[in-house]
């Protein structure tokens, strides 16, 4: 495991010390949101206690400090993603907001009969904005199917690419199945077709080192809160040339160059897409989260999570009547499962009594549930602060729950 030290990492996350129902917290809901390290909490606290101010256009000291911290975070994100310029980093409310931005602004350029290509494993946030756009513009939403392992059927995806395909919007790593999509190949195929690609990297951002230049994706969205940062803040990365061609998403302060009743000219990138006072503390918190992540032994962390997934899969597979949903060859540390005779919600409530936090339900992927003929799964999603002992506690709690419903 190299220099990666899970016990040392755990001391950075104060929420891990808060018992649940008198038991130590076993936090396995990282796919929904990750816990926050003390340094992120401190950065937000510092902003509100030491340099509360609005950003941009302020000449006073606090405003300059806040602006410098806010724009400093943009540079951190740019370097973290290996983007060519900070002008390619747009701060949003989160992944959903970023996708809606693209659907609205890129959607403006679409006309009747144009097609948007997604997959069957998308989160609702990468389905519904496109459905709304299709209804408004008379476009068609095409859906590439998955197989019973929860993997994209690439041949079917290829068949759906056509001259009418104006954007491919695809999840990098599935939140409900754990599948890692072959995005490099998808991007090459789409580009050969002349189609830009938007990656939903909400899960991917904490599981892999994203390099937007190497990937050559045109657009990429992620949320701060799944990357150890605060909620209500996220990022849309976009190639500068593409973003320059798009119309603004929302109108308001900060996104303008000059306003008069005769007409308004818009600000340059990235501000063209950041109307109104942004989530300043959130962005500063995201910057602190990136600082934190950069210090971690990334290779060791990846290996640790791989071992957790292998161990958890082995242990869960031994439970009679348990079926894992999502068995892709390439997977992140997310385990969705169903158990005979126990509904996910009942299991979730029962194991919560043992301090184990998991997510239950459709995970905002109802079409995935439909594919597998189920309405809900229980999902354990792991992060680098999780341990093998916590998996043992999960397994024991599931076995106790099974006793109640046997």
């Amino acid at each position: 495991m190299g220099n990666f030290n899970v016990e040392a990492i755990r001391t950075d996350f104060p929420n891990l010390n808060v018992p649940v129902h008198g038991k130590p917290l076993v936090y396995l809901d990282n796919g929904a949101t990750t816990l926050k390290p003390q340094s992120v909490i401190d950065a937000i606290n510092h902003h509100y206690t030491q340099e509360t101010s609005n950003v941009h256009r302020g000449v006073h000291t606090l405003s300059q400090l806040a602006t410098s911290a806010y724009e400093g975070a943009r540079v951190k994100v740019q370097k973290f993603l290996n983007a060519a310029s900070e002008r390619e980093i747009i701060f949003t409310k989160g992944t959903t907001d970023a996708i809606n931005l693209v659907a609205a602004s890129l959607g403006d350029t679409l006309t009747t009969g144009d097609e948007i290509l997604i997959t069957e494993m998308e989160h609702h946030s990468n389905i519904v904005p496109w459905q709304i756009l299709c209804k408004k513009k008379g476009c068609n939403l095409k859906v590439a199917p998955i197989n019973d392992q929860g993997e994209l059927i690439l041949d079917e995806f290829k068949k759906l690419l056509s001259p009418k395909t104006k954007i491919v919007a695809i999840v990098y790593m599935s939140n409900s199945l754990g599948t890692i999509n072959p995005v490099e190949e998808i991007i090459k195929l789409a580009h050969a077709n002349g189609t830009p690609v938007l990656l939903d990297a909400a899960q991917a951002v904490s599981h892999t080192h994203i390099d937007v230049k190497a990937l050559d994706c045109d657009l990429l969205a992620f949320s701060s809160h799944k990357l150890f940062g605060p909620t209500g803040c996220g990022v849309l990365y976009g190639k500068e040339s593409l973003l320059n061609d798009l119309s603004p998403y929302q109108g308001g302060g900060d996104m303008i160059e000059k306003v008069s009743f005769a007409g308004t000219t818009f600000n340059t990138l990235p501000y063209k897409f950041e109307a109104g006072t942004p989530n300043i503390a959130g962005v500063i918190g995201l910057g602190a989260a990136i600082d934190y992540i950069e210090k971690v032994d990334w290779e060791g962390m990846q290996q640790h999570k791989k071992e957790l997934l292998t161990y958890a899969t082995e242990q869960l597979e031994q439970i009679e009547g348990l079926r894992i949903i999502g068995t892709a060859v390439n997977k992140i540390a997310i385990l969705s499962f169903v158990i005979d005779n126990i509904h996910a919600h009942d299991l979730g409530t029962l194991i919560d009594q043992e301090g184990v936090a998991v997510r239950t339900g459709h995970h905002c992927t109802m079409p995935v549930m439909e594919h597998f003929g189920i309405t809900a799964t229980t999902r354990a999603s792991f992060s680098w602060y999780n341990t093998h002992e916590e998996i043992d506690i999960l397994v024991k709690a599931i076995k106790q729950a099974k006793e109640i419903f046997k």
């Binding site: 005779n341 029962l350 309405t375 809900a376 106790q400 419903f405």
Partner: protein, 130 residues
Amino acid sequence: MRKTLYHPEIIEHSKNPHHVGTIDHCTHSAEGYNQICGDYIKVDLNVEDGTLVDFKFTPECCAITKAAASMLGNKIIGKPISEAKTIELDAFSAFDVLKDFPARIKCATLPLATVRAALENKKETTTDDD
């Protein structure tokens, strides 16, 4: 397990629910969706002369919803519809413990809301409507 939501009566009803099925040519029917989790229940009712004479349900849901529907059926068959429509969760003491599990209250109220919707000739309801 510490405080348990799973009272023996709830477990028994969820394992062996009463009134599961459908009614052909029923007088009232509605579907209920739990917005929180995607759970589903369909309720078929027969009403004669203002009295609810039959109740069946189709469950795709958790133990709490299933047990609540099963107990609800036992309680409302033979009752005037005015009574069936106004029945509340506090009529079932097994669910008193739900005050300690607020995230699960809507699981138990879904069958009540669905019966109410059916009696009001609505085709469907959601947990947001109750």
